[in-house]
């Protein structure tokens, strides 16, 4: 082999070594690439992922509570024989106000995750909602909506949380 090609080979290796030893690219390689082999978050490693190929598990690992929450709601409704459920989904401000660490999916994402229709308190069909997610004792729970006053009360509690958050942020109601 041409000796000059070997020199170029060594130079290429040296450049790579310097490149990935710079703070920026070294950090990038460590946190974005090498993480697949060794990471504090085990779910991000090849070893873990190779042993967990079930699509549902993969969704749980990646989408976390957004997916499991939707699944739990769907399971609950199925167990309770709910027919044509339309679930009133709380706004994020309500969840935050109740100090619950959870991201509530928007109606389309909720439907994508579990096949159950959802609505927001300002959706056009909100008055058809027959189930609702509310906070109780620091946890989210699903309750059936029996009548319009009950529905109005839930909507009012959602709206109040949004208004308070807007006021705090200096936005109009």
């Amino acid at each position: 082999m041409n000796f000059k090609k070997i020199i170029l080979f060594v130079a290429a290796c040296l450049i790579l070594l310097i490149f990935f030893n710079t703070t920026f690219y070294g950090n990038w390689f460590q946190t974005k690439i090498y993480r697949a082999w060794e990471s504090e978050a085990e779910v991000e490693t090849f070893d873990y992922q190779w042993d967990h190929m079930d699509p549902v598990q993969r969704k749980i690992d990646k989408l976390a509570s957004t997916y499991t929450f939707s699944q739990q709601v769907a399971e609950f409704l199925k167990k309770n024989g709910a027919k044509n459920p339309l679930v009133l989904l709380p706004p994020q401000e309500y969840i935050k106000e109740r100090q619950i660490d959870m991201i509530i999916p928007e109606p389309i994402v909720f439907y994508y995750h579990c096949g159950v229709k959802g609505a927001w308190y300002n959706s056009a069909n909100v008055n058809q909602a027959n189930w609702a997610i509310i906070a109780r004792n620091g946890e989210l729970t699903i309750i059936p909506i029996q009548n319009q006053p009950e529905r109005d009360a839930i909507i009012a509690s959602y709206k109040s949380a949004v208004d308070k958050a807007n006021q705090a942020a200096g936005q109009p109601k």
Binding site: M1, N2, K4, K5, I6, L8, F9, A11, A12, C13, I15, L16, F19, F24, Y25, W28, K32, I33, A36, F46, Q49, P55, R58, K59, K62, L63, P105, E106, P107, I108, V109, Y111, Y112, K117, G118, A119, W120, N122, S123, A124, N125
Partner: protein
Amino acid sequence: MNFTGLLFVLIGHFLSGRGTLAIFNIKLKPLITFLVSMILGVALLSLVPFIMQLFYIPITRTNVILGIAILCLLLNIPTLIRLRSGNITMPKLNFNLEFYEIPVLLVFTVVMLVSIWRCFYYPPFARDMLSGPEAIAEFTVREKTMLNSIFSLNLESTNNHLKPPYVTDLQIIYKMLVSPFGQVWLSVLAVSFLIWAYAILREKLHPFIAGIIFLFFFTMPDPFAYTYIMLFDYSNMVFFFAGFYFLVQYLEKKQYNIFLFSVLLFGIATYIRLETLVLEGLILPLLFFYFRKDKVPPVKIIIRFAIFLIVPFFFYEMWVGLFVKHYLPVHFDVSQEINKNFSNLSPFFERLGSMTKILIFGISDNPNQKDINLRLYGYFVYLFLLILIVDIIFYRKYFTLESKVALYGILVVYLGMPFLGYLIPWVDLMNTTKRGLYKMFPLMLLYMRNSGLLQMLSNNIRNWELPQIPGAKRPKTAMANTSQPKPAAQPNKKNKK
């Protein structure tokens, strides 16, 4: 993972892309033909479920397979005719890889294996996908129609269900035939594109120099992340660049078929992100300049302008004018999305300023945005600027047509993205503009392969590596297209002296 399904789809990508190249009579080296065919084939197959839906054909697995087969067959009719007449030769593969390219290519392979694995393993998780294309694709697979129960939901929180069908359709195909999360098409596109990008560099630069530039390119943090996070922007970048690449080829070779092919690629870029149409409009002055320079008659100029705009507009209208308007059960008025106060240009200049300051140079009072340019794009932009400045100071004479067109393309994106922000208020800085700027980066590569500085360095390495014997031919190092225009000016310090 259904490997038979994957093989079928991969063959489908190749055949549809290859057939289209043959229709346009685009001649490239075998490796580049394969890569461009795969890239093109990804977009072409995405048309299958969409066309089926236009004709209300149930989108079942069998129908999708048949649709792909028919598309491949139709696009390969000219090739089949040539094959029957025996007027076809088998390509000779010649990779001609140098020993010293292996380190960089090895790192590239490792990085891309991680990307491919994540693309396959993780479910789609970008919000813009889950609240639009991915959700529609999932329920299309279940309900056999793109006009499915998603459109019976409350969609006030999103407009993502109105975005073009490119991702939706590819997800339908891959979910039906390959894996439950689809997405692997993104790896096919990203890997093909990156290898092509390297081959483009290597055509004109010494492989050692090409490798270093390529290293800065494929390690750009944000674009790398989108080689496995499914969204529109990476694909949009690929096709916008491909359009530009073949536009340069046309301007150099003056072959009309290449112009038409370039227009098709710009059309596909529009089909992926509709607002690309605006950027394509900004390319017209460049075309006008070269048409005038080549003394093209005014009537022909008008016809070519019309073709250049009509094809992307056709793709735009196919979705907005036809499908959204007449098929989707939801109302959408595009005029509501556009800025009404055209006389006030301050949003354009504000966006241009914040884009330059924050996204390109990382200057911001917000501590979260400080140095964000590096976190997004690494040092690639700085590398480009450094090379450009050195070229402007020392190698002004060596600017080629390709480097000028590439610089014009960069300018189109640089001014076009803020213009889009001014035109369409929902085009924000930290999402749409941040990813829209991707389109500049392969154009920067295209510039760099013509850079006087890099050409000089390449020539010096070549001369040192293989001192030229008078009368002897230097072996070819480029693994890509030989049907290249005349090589870029090759400054050499020794020769200059």
